[in-house]
C-alpha cells in the first residue's frame, strides 16, 4: 500500500481495496465483493445506529465497488443522510456518491434537493461549492426545476466569493444545456456579461463558458459581450508572460481563457464598429506573429498551449471569412504545420485547412499545398492523419485539379484502411461527377472504383452512374463498351455485374454491331455471372434479359430457354420466380411492338442533387463536410446551404425505386399499353396523316402512327415554352429498314413561330428493333399550324415515304394557374373585348361523362377551378400560355347541356389568335 500523503485515509477502505487487488481471479474478486456487500448491508440494517464515520466508510466502499463496474442497489439513503452531516468530510463523500450514482428516484431527489438547498443557504463557501458541484454533476431536470432561479442570484450577488461564482457559472451552464427552458434569461444576464471584466481570471474563465453557451442560443441578448471579450483578449495577448502570474501556463498567457474568448467571438459576425474590429484584427495579427517567434520553452506544453490559441484564432478568422490578408496568413501558417515533426500539428493543420478551402479568399492559397497533402496520403503512418488528408484533398478539389486528385485518391484506395474506404469511395464518386468534363472519364472512374473497392461501393454510387449514363446519350455507347470489357474479368465484383446488367440491358444494342460483342456474346457473358450473384442482382439480370429479348430478337429463344428452366420458374425466391414467369409470358404473348413499347429505353431521370452527396453528409454530419457543392461561401453562410440541400434530398429519395422498375412511371406505362392494344393498323399514305393528331390534344403519350411495317410512338414533355418529344420508331418486320431517316418540316409561317430541332437517327433499323429520336421544341410565339414528321426508309427494295402531322399544339405550352372565384371573374371581365372572346356551341360526340370531361380539361393543360362557377355542372379553367416572346393568360368555361347533348365553350384570352386556336382544339374533344 502506498503512503497516503494527505487526508485521513479510511483504513477499512484501504484494506478492502488491497484485498480486491490481491484477488487472483475474477471469481475471487466477485466473492470478496459479495462478502463485503453482505457485511455492509447487515451494518446498514443492524439495530445499532452507525456513527457518521462508519457510514462514510461504507458508502465509500459501495462507491468503489460501483466504480469497479458492479451494480449497487442500496446505500443511497445512507449517502443522503451524510449530506446533512455537519462534518465536511462526511458531507463530501455523500455528495460524491450522489454525483456518481444518483438515479431519478423521486423520493430521494426531494431529500437530496433539500440538503442542497440547506447548503446553498449556509453562506459557507465550501459547503456551497459542494452543493453546486453536485448540481453540476447530476444536472437532472428535477434539480433544474429546484435551483434554476436560485443559482443566477448567487452568481451575480455582490457578496458571493469568487470560487462560488465560478462554480455557480458552470453549474448554471450545465443546467442550461440539459434543460434550457427551465433557465429563463432575465435581469441577471446583463450582469453576467460584466463578469468578463472581473478581476479574478478564474471567474472570467468560468463565466466565458457560460456566456458562450447562452450566446449561441440567444445572440441578441449577449451582443454586449463582443466588446468586452475583445478588450479582455487584447489585454491577454499583449501582456508580458509573467503578468498573469499563475494563469500563465508554460510561458503562455491564460491559454484556456484566450481559447474561450475566441470561441465566444465565433458566435457573432465580425464587429460592425470599426475601432473594435481594428482592435480584434490586431489581436489576431499578434497571435499569428507570435507563432513565428522562437519558442520560449522546448516543452511540448508550451507549444501546445500557444498553438491551441493559434488554431482557435484561425477558426475565428475562418468564421469571419472577411479579411483576405488574415485568411491567407492563416493558410500559410497551416502550410508550415503540414510538414511539422509533431503528428498532432500535422493532423490539426489538415483539419483546419479543410475549412479554409471553402472560403473564396483562401481556396487558391490552400490549393498550393496539394503536393504536400498528396504526399501525406502516401507517407503518414497514422490512419487518422491520412483520413484528414483525404478530407482536405476533397475540399480543395475543383475543375483545375480534379483529375489529379481523383487519380491520387483512387491510388490510395488500393491500400487504404478498411475503416475509411467507403468514405473515400463516396468522395471519389462525387468529385468524378461534379468535375467531369467528359463523361467517359466519369464512367472509367466509377468502374475503377468498383474494381478496386467494390465492397465499399454503396447502392447510391452505382445508382448514380446509371442515372448519369441514361441522361447523357453521348456516353451510352462508351459505357456499354466499357462495362462489356470490364465484365470479361473472370472474377468481377457483384456491383459491376449490376451496373453491367443494367447498362447492357439498356444500351447493349449500341455495341451489338461488333461480332465480338454480339447479342449472344453479351448475354452469355452476363449469364455466366448469374449464379454467383445474390437475389437482388439476379432479379436485375432477369430484367436485363427481357430487355435483351426486345433489343435482340435473335437471342429470344436462348433467353426464353433460360427463363423456362426450373431454376428460374421454380425458384424458391418469390421475386425471382415472379419475374421469370412474367417475363417469359410477356415474351411469348406480346407482339414485337408491344414488347418494344413495354420495354423501351428508360426515360431520362429528373435532374437532382447527387444522392451520394446526401449519403456522405449523413456519414460525416453537415458540420464536418466542406461544402463543395455550392459556390464558395460568403460571410457565415455555409449552414444555410446545407439545409437547402438536405431538403432537396428528401424529395428525391423515393425515386430510387425507379431504377429497378421497368417503367419509369406506372401511369404513362399503362396508357401506352392501352394504346398499343387498341390501335389497329392504318394503311400507309403519302399524304400527311393526321388521323391521330386530335388524340394528342389532351395527352402527351401514345401511338402516333402505325402501318404494317412501322409503328411510331411518342412521349412528350413540356415545360414553359420548351418541349421535348421522344419519337420511337419500331420495325414490325423481321427484316432491316435501310436508309432510315426522319425529319421535321414546318410551313413557312410556322417556322418563325416554332423551332423544332431533331437529332439524326441510325440509318439502319434492325428487324424487330426500335430506335429513338429526340425532338427539341421551342415555342417562339403563338401559332396555329402543326409541323410535319417525314419518315423515309427502304424496305425490301422499295422506298417508303410517310408523313405524319406532329402533335405540337399551342395548348402544350400551358402552365395551369389556380385562382379564386373573385380573381377569376375580375379577369373574366377584363378580357371582355369582343375579339378576345371566342365562343362555340357544338353537339357532343362522346357520352357526356363528367369525370372524363374533367380529365380532358386537365389534359388540355389548364387548372380546373372548382367552386368558381355558380353552376356546379359547368367547368371553369385557367392557365398561361408560355411563348418565348410573351405570355398569354387564358380563361375558359365549358357549359354542358345534357338534355340537348350540347356544349357551349367560351375562351377568353388577351390575343384573338390564341382564343381562336384554343377553341378549335378543345371543342373537337367532347
Amino acid at each position: 500500500m502506498p503512503a497516503v500523503s494527505k487526508g485521513d485515509g479510511m483504513r477499512g477502505l484501504a484494506v478492502f481495496i488491497s484485498d480486491i487487488r490481491n484477488c487472483k481471479s475474477k471469481e475471487a474478486e466477485i466473492k470478496r465483493i459479495n462478502k463485503e456487500l453482505a457485511n455492509i448491508r447487515s451494518k446498514f440494517k443492524g439495530d445499532k445506529a452507525l456513527d457518521g464515520y462508519s457510514k462514510k466508510k461504507y458508502v465509500c466502499k459501495l462507491l468503489f465497488i460501483f466504480l469497479l463496474g458492479h451494480d449497487i442497489d442500496f446505500g443511497h439513503m445512507e449517502a443522503v443522510n451524510l449530506l446533512s452531516s455537519n462534518k465536511y468530510t462526511e458531507k463530501q463523500i455523500g455528495y460524491l456518491f450522489i454525483s456518481v450514482l444518483v438515479n431519478s428516484n423521486s423520493d430521494l431527489i426531494r431529500l437530496i434537493n433539500n440538503a442542497i438547498k440547506n447548503d446553498l443557504a449556509s453562506r459557507n463557501p465550501t459547503f456551497m461549492n459542494l452543493a453546486l458541484h453536485c448540481i453540476a454533476n447530476v444536472g437532472s431536470r428535477e434539480m433544474a426545476e429546484a435551483f434554476a432561479s436560485e443559482i443566477p442570484r448567487i452568481l451575480v450577488a455582490g457578496d458571493t466569493m469568487d470560487s462560488v461564482k465560478q462554480s455557480a457559472a458552470l453549474c448554471l451552464l450545465r443546467l442550461y444545456r440539459s434543460s434550457p427552458e427551465l433557465v429563463p434569461l432575465g435581469e441577471w444576464t446583463a450582469r453576467v456579461v460584466h463578469l468578463l471584466n472581473d478581476q479574478h481570471l478564474g471567474v472570467v474563465t468560468a463565466a466565458t463558458s457560460l456566456i458562450t453557451t447562452l450566446a449561441q442560443k440567444n445572440p441578441d441578448d449577449f451582443k454586449t459581450s463582443i466588446s468586452l471579450a475583445v478588450a479582455r483578449l487584447s489585454r491577454i495577448v499583449t501582456s508580458a508572460s509573467i503578468d498573469l502570474q499563475d494563469y500563465t501556463y508554460y510561458f503562455v498567457a491564460a491559454p484556456w481563457l484566450s481559447v474561450k474568448l475566441l470561441r465566444l467571438l465565433q458566435c457573432y459576425p465580425p464587429p460592425e464598429d470599426a475601432a473594435l474590429r481594428g482592435r480584434l484584427t490586431e489581436c489576431l495579427e499578434t497571435i499569428l506573429n507570435k507563432a513565428q517567434e522562437p519558442p520560449k520553452s522546448k516543452k511540448v506544453q508550451h507549444s501546445n498551449a500557444k498553438n491551441a490559441v493559434l488554431f482557435e484564432a484561425i477558426s475565428l478568422i475562418i468564421h469571419h471569412d472577411s479579411e483576405p490578408t488574415l485568411l491567407v496568413r492563416a493558410c500559410n501558417q497551416l502550410g508550415q504545420f503540414l510538414q511539422h515533426r509533431e503528428t498532432n500539428l500535422r493532423y490539426l493543420a489538415l483539419e483546419s485547412m479543410c475549412t479554409l478551402a471553402s472560403s473564396e479568399f483562401s481556396h487558391e492559397a490552400v490549393k498550393t499545398h496539394m503536393e504536400t497533402v498528396i504526399n501525406a496520403l502516401k507517407t503518414e503512418r497514422d490512419v487518422s492523419v491520412r483520413q484528414r488528408a483525404v478530407d482536405l484533398l476533397y475540399a480543395m478539389c475543383d475543375r483545375s485539379n480534379a483529375k489529379q486528385i481523383v487519380a491520387e485518391m483512387l491510388r490510395y484506395l488500393e491500400t487504404a484502411d478498411y475503416s475509411i474506404r467507403e468514405e473515400i469511395v463516396l468522395k471519389v464518386a462525387i468529385l468524378a461527377e461534379k468535375y467531369a468534363v467528359d463523361y467517359t472519364w466519369y464512367v472509367d472512374t466509377i468502374l475503377n472504383l468498383i474494381r478496386i473497392a467494390g465492397d465499399y461501393v454503396s447502392e447510391e454510387v452505382w445508382y448514380r452512374v446509371i442515372q448519369i449514363v441514361i441522361n447523357r446519350d453521348d456516353v451510352q455507347g462508351y459505357a456499354a463498351k466499357t462495362v462489356f470489357e470490364a465484365l470479361q474479368a473472370p472474377a468481377c465484383h457483384e456491383n459491376l455485374v449490376k451496373v453491367g446488367g443494367y447498362i447492357l440491358g439498356e444500351f447493349g444494342n449500341l455495341i451489338a454491331g461488333d461480332s465480338r460483342s454480339s447479342p449472344l456474346v453479351q448475354f452469355n457473358l452476363l449469364h455466366s455471372k448469374f449464379h454467383l450473384c445474390s437475389v437482388p442482382t439476379r432479379a436485375l439480370l432477369l430484367s436485363a434479359y427481357i430487355k435483351f429479348i426486345n433489343l435482340f430478337p435473335e437471342v429470344k429463344a436462348t433467353i426464353q430457354d433460360v427463363l423456362r428452366s426450373d431454376s428460374q420458374l421454380r425458384n424458391a425466391d418469390v421475386e425471382l420466380q415472379q419475374r421469370a414467369v412474367e417475363y417469359l409470358r410477356l415474351s411469348c404473348v406480346a407482339s414485337t411492338d408491344i414488347l418494344a413499347t413495354v420495354l423501351e429505353e428508360m426515360p431520362p431521370f429528373p435532374e437532382r442533387e447527387s444522392s451520394i452527396l446526401a449519403k456522405l453528409k449523413k456519414k460525416k454530419g453537415p458540420g464536418n463536410l466542406p461544402d463543395i457543392n455550392n459556390a464558395r461561401r460568403n460571410v457565415n453562410g455555409s449552414s444555410e446551404h446545407t439545409e437547402t440541400n438536405e431538403v432537396t434530398n428528401q424529395g428525391s429519395t423515393p425515386s430510387f425505386t425507379d431504377l429497378l422498375n421497368l417503367n419509369s412511371s406506372p401511369s404513362t406505362g399503362a396508357s401506352l399499353l392501352v394504346d398499343a392494344f387498341s390501335d389497329s393498323a392504318t394503311p400507309a399514305s403519302i399524304d400527311v396523316n393526321e388521323e391521330n393528331f386530335p388524340r394528342f390534344v389532351c395527352k402527351n403519350n401514345g401511338v402516333l402512327y402505325e402501318n404494317l411495317l412501322l409503328q411510331v410512338g411518342l412521349r412528350s414533355e413540356y415545360r414553359q415554352n420548351l418541349g421535348r418529344i421522344y419519337v420511337f420508331y419500331g420495325n414490325k418486320t423481321s427484316a432491316q429498314f435501310l436508309n432510315f431517316s426522319s425529319s421535321v418540316t414546318s410551313p413557312d409561317t410556322l417556322k418563325t413561330q416554332l423551332n423544332v430541332h431533331n437529332k439524326a437517327v441510325d440509318p439502319i433499323v434492325d428487324g424487330g428493333a426500335q430506335v429513338q429520336q429526340i425532338l427539341n421544341i421551342e415555342c417562339v410565339s403563338d401559332f396555329t399550324d402543326a409541323p410535319v414528321l417525314n419518315i423515309q426508309f427502304r424496305y425490301g427494295g422499295t422506298l417508303q415515304n410517310i408523313a405524319v402531322k406532329l402533335p405540337v399544339m399551342l395548348n402544350k405550352f400551358f402552365q395551369p394557374t389556380e385562382m379564386t372565384s373573385q380573381d377569376f371573374f375580375q379577369r373574366w371581365k377584363q378580357l371582355g373585348a369582343p375579339q378576345q372572346e371566342v365562343q362555340k356551341i357544338f353537339k357532343a360526340k362522346h357520352p357526356m361523362d363528367k369525370e372524363v370531361t374533367k380529365a380532358k380539361i386537365l389534359g388540355f393543360g389548364v387548372a380546373l377551378l372548382e367552386g368558381v362557377d355558380p353552376n356546379s355542372e359547368n367547368f371553369v379553367g385557367a392557365g398561361i400560355i408560355h411563348t418565348k416572346s410573351t405570355q398569354v393568360g387564358c380563361l375558359l368555361r365549358l357549359e354542358p347541356n345534357t338534355q340537348a347533348q350540347m356544349y357551349r365553350l367560351t375562351l377568353r384570352t388577351s390575343r384573338d389568335t390564341v382564343s381562336q386556336r384554343l377553341c378549335e382544339l378543345l371543342s373537337e374533344q367532347f
Binding site: 484501504a14 463530501q92 470560487s163 497514422d382
Partner: protein
C-alpha cells in the same frame, strides 16, 4: 467536454467523469469501445481521433491513459493541456503521483477534478487556486480527525 476516462494499460477503468446524461449501460458500452480503440493505437500516433460524432483526445502518462471526448467545435490542443494540468495537480497533491495513489484515493482524484473542471468546462486553471481549495478541505478533515478515533 462530454466525458473523461482514466484507464490503465490493462484496460482497467480508474476514473470516469460524465458531463452528459447517459444510462449506465451506455456508459459501459462507450468505455469498453473506447478503451479498446485507444489501447490499440501505437505510441507515435497522433493524440486525436474521430469517434462517432465526437473527437477523442488522449495521452498516456506512465501506465495510465487519460482520455477526453470533446465536441466538434472544441479545441483539441487545449484539451490535451487540460489533461496535462490535471496530471500536474494530481502530481503536486500526491507528490509524484502513481496509479496506486489514484486507486487508493480515488475520492481525492474526483474532488480535485471537480475543482478544476465543472460541467465539462475549465473552472479554475490556476494550479495554486485549485490546490488551495483542496488543502482547505483537507484541513477541515484534519480537524475532524483529532476528535474521532481511526477505525
Amino acid at each position: 467536454m462530454q466525458f473523461m476516462l482514466l484507464f490503465s494499460r490493462q484496460g482497467k477503468l480508474r476514473l470516469q467523469k460524465w458531463y452528459v446524461p447517459l444510462s449506465d449501460k451506455e456508459k459501459k458500452k462507450i468505455t469498453r469501445e473506447l478503451v479498446q480503440t485507444v489501447l490499440a493505437r501505437k505510441p507515435k500516433m497522433c493524440s486525436f481521433l474521430e469517434w462517432r460524432d465526437l473527437k477523442i483526445v488522449y495521452k498516456r502518462y506512465a501506465s495510465l491513459y487519460f482520455c477526453c471526448a470533446i465536441e466538434d467545435q472544441d479545441n483539441e490542443l487545449i484539451t490535451l493541456e487540460i489533461i496535462h494540468r490535471y496530471v500536474e495537480l494530481l502530481d503536486k497533491y500526491f507528490g509524484s503521483v502513481c496509479e496506486l495513489d489514484i486507486i487508493f484515493n480515488f475520492e481525492k482524484a474526483y474532488f480535485i477534478l471537480d475543482e478544476f473542471l465543472l460541467g465539462g468546462e475549465a473552472q479554475e486553471t490556476s494550479k495554486k487556486n485549485v490546490l488551495k481549495a483542496i488543502e482547505q478541505a483537507d484541513l477541515l478533515q484534519e480537524v475532524r480527525h483529532g476528535t474521532n478515533p481511526i477505525h
